[in-house]
Every structure is written in C-alpha cells, then in structure tokens.
C-alpha cells in the first residue's frame, strides 16, 4: 500500500507539486479538497493534455482526499480530458450566436481541411477538434479556442492562417 502510494506520488513532478502548493495556499488550511480543480488543470497541462487514472490517483494522494472525489470532479467538468488528445485542442463554439454567424461553415471547413469530424483527432495526433458550448465571446462569432487563445470573427482564410502558424 505504502509502496503504491509512493509510486503514485512520483508521477507528479516537483514543478507540479510546487504549483499545486501555491493553489492550496489560496484556501483555508482544512480545505485541501478545494485544490482538486486547480491540481487537475495543472497536471493535465503538464502531462500531455489529458488525465490518466494514475495521474488522478496521484493527485488524490497528494491532496490526501479520496480518489473518488477526484474522479467525480474530473468527469463533471468539460475541460478535463480523460482520453488522449492531439497536440492542439481546437474548440469550436457552435452555440446560438456562433451558429447564427456561420459556425456550421467553420466546422465544415475543418472537416475538409483536416479530414476529421467533431470529437476526432488527426492521425498524426496534431489536432483534436472539439465542439464546445458558448465561450462567452459571442460578439466575435463565429469563434474558437485553440489551446488557451481565443480566435474570433473566423473566416476560412483566417482559420488557415491560424492553423499554419501552429507547429
């Protein structure tokens, strides 16, 4: 048991732990569970963009909370990925304001260009295309998020430029 726990802990790098510690400090000392969401985000970002069960267990160990509590959170929120994703996660908003301004065409353009549909990853693992709900940027519709960046007022040309600039 102890050996297992130690092994899980080694999955988190010193950088992961330092960053998680900084977040633990934002909450009252007896409320470490609050750091679950930030920990999942940090570990996901630092470990290839998705969360394995082992990583989630390591987080549970580190925060000293039940593994189930971490799984519950990881499965509830849409930004946590529980399956492998491509190097660049492309999130296209298709909600009402974006739809009114042509998000269908954005999705079609991606299909033609990358040969994948919503929810799929290119065979070279470079891009994952994800349909997302309103991202709070409806004034710039149609829009998408690639990694952390928002791109608004999309046109096919603009999408091509954005994709070309990604390595």
């Amino acid at each position: 048991m102890l050996a297992e726990k130690q092994q899980a802990n080694t999955l988190l790098s010193p950088e992961d732990c330092a960053e998680i510690d900084r977040w633990i400090g934002k909450y009252p000392p007896e409320q470490k569970l609050s750091a679950t969401m930030p920990a999942l985000r940090i570990v996901q970002d630092n470990h290839g963009g998705w969360l394995t069960t082992e990583l989630m267990d390591a987080i549970a160990d580190y925060l000293d909370v039940p593994a189930m509590a971490v799984y519950e959170v990881a499965t509830f929120y849409s930004m946590y990925e529980l399956k492998p994703v491509g190097k660049h996660k492309v999130c296209v908003c298709t909600n009402i304001s974006c739809m009114l301004r042509g998000s269908d065409d954005v999705v079609t353009h991606f299909k033609n260009k990358l040969g994948i549909s919503l929810g799929e990853t290119t065979s070279d693992n470079k891009f994952t295309l994800k349909e997302v709900e309103c991202l709070g940027a409806c004034g710039g519709a149609p829009m998408m998020q690639v990694g952390k960046d928002y791109h608004e007022n999309l046109t096919p040309e603009k999408i091509d430029e954005i994709l070309a600039a990604l390595d």
Partner: protein
C-alpha cells in the same frame, strides 16, 4: 450617453493597469472608506438607494442582499464571491470587464467585503477565459503591491485577501450555490435553498455572491452618488447596464447604455440589421429568456419592467438578434441541446426532461417530427418548470415554450413537410 459606469475608461490605453485606473479616480472610494472608517450600514444604504440590481440575471437588489449580512454573527468568517463564470449563451460582458477594467472589480469586491464584514474573497472565473484571468490576476498583484489588499491595508487594521478560482467548463457553476460547491472542490451541483448563501455559504460560512458587472459598478456608484446612478435609469431599473448584442447585427459588441433606452435605439447603436434583411426575433436576456418577435421588441425599452411586460426577461442583458434568414426550429434545437448538455443531473425533471426536449427537437429538425410532438414538447417543458432545485430547469423550458408560442407555424411546417419553412432545408 453611453459607457458611463463599467466601461467609462476602457477607451484609454492600458486601461487595465493600476496606473491608468488610479489616474481616473480609481481606488479613491476605497481609500476614503478606509480613511474615514465609513460605517458599513451607510455604504449598504447608498447601494440600496442607487437602485442597483444584480447583473447576473436574476436582478435582485444588491443593497438588500448585502443588508442580509448585517445580521450574521460577527465572530464568523465571511466571504464575498464574484461570479465571473459567464456561460449563458449570448453573454460576453464580464469577459470585457475583466480584460479592460479589472481594477473596478477588485475595488468593488474590496468595498463589498468591507460592507459585509468579509476578510476574504474569491473571483470565480470560467477556465476558458485565459486572457481575462491573466488581467485580473495582474490587477490583484498590483493592488497588493500598492497595499490596497491584504492584511492591515494602508495601516488601517482592515484585512481583505482576494483570490481567483478557475472554472473548468460547466455552465451550471454560474448558479451561485453550484459555484460555491465548485470552489469547495466538488461537482457543481446546486444546493437546496434555504438556507441562502448569506446564511450558509462558502465552507458553510455567510457569503455574498455577486456578478462581475454588479461589483464593477460599485466604485462609480459610490463616487458619483446613488442619486446620479438611479437617475441614469428608469423607475425600478436604476443605472446603466451593459448589453451584449450578438447574432444578425452589423456591429456586435457590448454597449453600456442607460436602463430604459429603447430597443430601437440599441439596435441602431449596434449598427442595425444586415442590408436586405428584416428583424425577425430577439432573445433579450440570454438564451434562457423567452424569445420575442422583432415587432414586439421594436416597441419596448431595455429595462426590467418593459421586457417583463412584453413576456420576457432582461436577464443578463444578452441580446441575441435574429433576422428573417433564421430557421427557428434549428435555433431552438441548438439551444435545447445546450441545456441538455449542461444539466447537472441532480433533479430528475431536469436531467430527463432536457434530454426529451433535445431529442424531440433533434428529430423534428431532422425531418422526423411527429404530429403530436409540439404538445409533447410543451408537456415536458411544463413538467420541468418550477420542479427543480435551481433555475436551470426553467432556463431549459422557457425557450421551448416561447419559441413554440411565437413561431408555431414554423414548427408545424417542419413536422408536416420534413423541411424548414424558412430555408427549405432539412438537416441530414
């Protein structure tokens, strides 16, 4: 008259920095309160007199909400929480407040905290908002460095620590009690009320939750005066408010205008409808609020009472404009899909009902509607309304009932002909 409150200085270069914020009078209200030790009850009275109502959607009077805290036991830790989860489709104002005027939110939260006796606060910002998060965190850093936050602020003995918490993609966390659960590190499932957060809130402690725009309005209201603010607007709708205008409009964007401005004028400010098209419908307050016909909208004003009288709600001021090219079946199918995706699954009427609504609308939109589908939709929607712990259930039901009421012929046509009355197309 536009941009007089939250957007007053956003045209300035580097408007988001402490330097520019202070050069326009920023933090002078906070400094004055600290210096004069203004009695909290006095601040709360001013906010009540200003007529400020919550900008997050429900429109609850902010001063009244803060007043609940005056009864809270003094020895208890208290919290102030800012709601920057901004997820209601059509809403994009808080993002711009955080990007261009983050210090107003910091100052508003500090003043609010002082007024309600809180020494700690969190701003819950949706996780996708990376740029706004950076701006807001930089503002916090600047404010700490200037001794405007932290312990023993400016040597006055007043303490206020301010932190961010990021969302991770869940519309339901905009609901205040789900938001608190989320900060506590849990799934975002709303709590039963009562008790209200002012009694049992974050970590079980008395807590006030306000929308970003509500809090960002506080410094200007207190510096220019409650009378000034209330008189900007109309009775029962004090002040000016940000309207996020999106959809079929020439200049989509955020417009901060006095409450009670006519929709016609707002439409003009936002550049009007595309040439060659007619206004067909408007969702005035975010995707959960009932849709109204364009003609109705052209007759009314943008304030709580006018919009309510016309049968909808001002909500978060998220105006979604649709011209005559819009297929209302497609629009509703998309909106209903959203509420189905975002139901947290806690209450059976919402979890099951949103699924039914989305599936029935999906089949109508795919040319497989059945004769009694409209009755079924209404039946399911009415079965959700008022039957759930939080208002997401109502938010899912209201669009369905209103779209069918206002545009019944389009739904009947789609069911009968298997294609859209507007575009002549059916989904594949």
């Amino acid at each position: 008259m536009a941009n007089e409150v939250c957007f007053q200085h956003i045209h300035l270069e580097n408007a988001w920095t402490l330097k520019v914020y202070e050069s326009t009078g920023g933090y002078s209200v906070w400094r004055k309160i600290l210096e004069e030790k203004t009695p909290p009850a006095e601040i709360i009275e001013q906010i009540k007199a200003s007529g400020l109502r919550g900008r997050g959607g429900a429109g609850f009077p902010t001063g009244v909400k803060w007043g609940f805290m005056l009864n809270a036991p003094s020895e208890l830790q208290k919290y102030i929480v800012c709601n920057s989860d901004e997820g209601e489709p059509g809403t994009f104002k808080d993002r711009d407040i955080l990007r261009y005027n983050p210090h107003a939110v910091v100052e508003g939260m500090a003043i609010g905290a002082y007024a309600i006796g809180a020494t700690a606060g969190y701003n819950y910002i949706r996780g996708e908002f990376w740029e706004p998060i950076q701006r807001f965190e930089e503002a916090i850093r600047e404010a700490y460095d200037a001794d405007l936050l932290g312990k023993n602020i400016l040597g006055t003995g007043v303490n206020f620590d301010l932190y961010t918490h990021y969302g991770a993609g869940a519309y339901i966390c905009g609901e205040e009690s789900a938001l608190l659960e989320s900060i506590e590190g849990k799934k975002g499932q709303p709590r039963f009320k009562p008790p209200f957060p002012a009694q049992v809130g974050l970590y079980g402690k008395p807590t006030i939750i306000n929308n970003t725009e509500t809090l960002a309005s506080i410094p200007t209201i207190l510096s220019k005066g409650a009378d000034w603010f209330v008189n900007l607007g109309v009775p029962n709708s004090g002040g000016a408010k940000l309207f996020s205008v999106s959809g079929h409009i020439n200049k989509p964007g955020n417009y901060e205008i006095p409450m009670g401005t006519s929709f016609k004028e707002l439409l003009e400010i936002a550049g009007g409808i595309r040439e060659g098209h007619q206004l067909k419908a408007v969702i005035p307050g975010g995707s959960s609020t009932p849709v109204l016909k364009g003609d109705t909208m052209m007759e009314i004003n943008m304030d709580y009472d006018s919009i309510a009288k016309a049968g909808s709600m001002l909500g978060a001021g998220s105006v979604i404009v649709m011209d005559d090219s819009t297929c209302m079946v497609k629009a509703l199918a998309r909106i209903s899909h959203f509420y189905f995706e975002e139901s947290c699954g806690q209450c059976t009427p919402c979890r099951e009902g949103t699924g039914w609504l989305a599936r029935i609308l999906h089949r109508i939109f795919h040319g497989q509607g059945r004769k009694d589908d409209l009755d079924l939709l209404e039946n399911v929607a009415n079965g959700i309304m008022g039957q759930t712990i939080c208002a997401l259930g109502d938010a899912a039901a209201m669009p369905v009932l209103s779209f069918i009421k206002e545009f019944r012929d389009e739904f009947e046509y789609f069911i009968e002909h298997g294609k859209s009355k507007v575009t002549g197309e059916a989904a594949l």
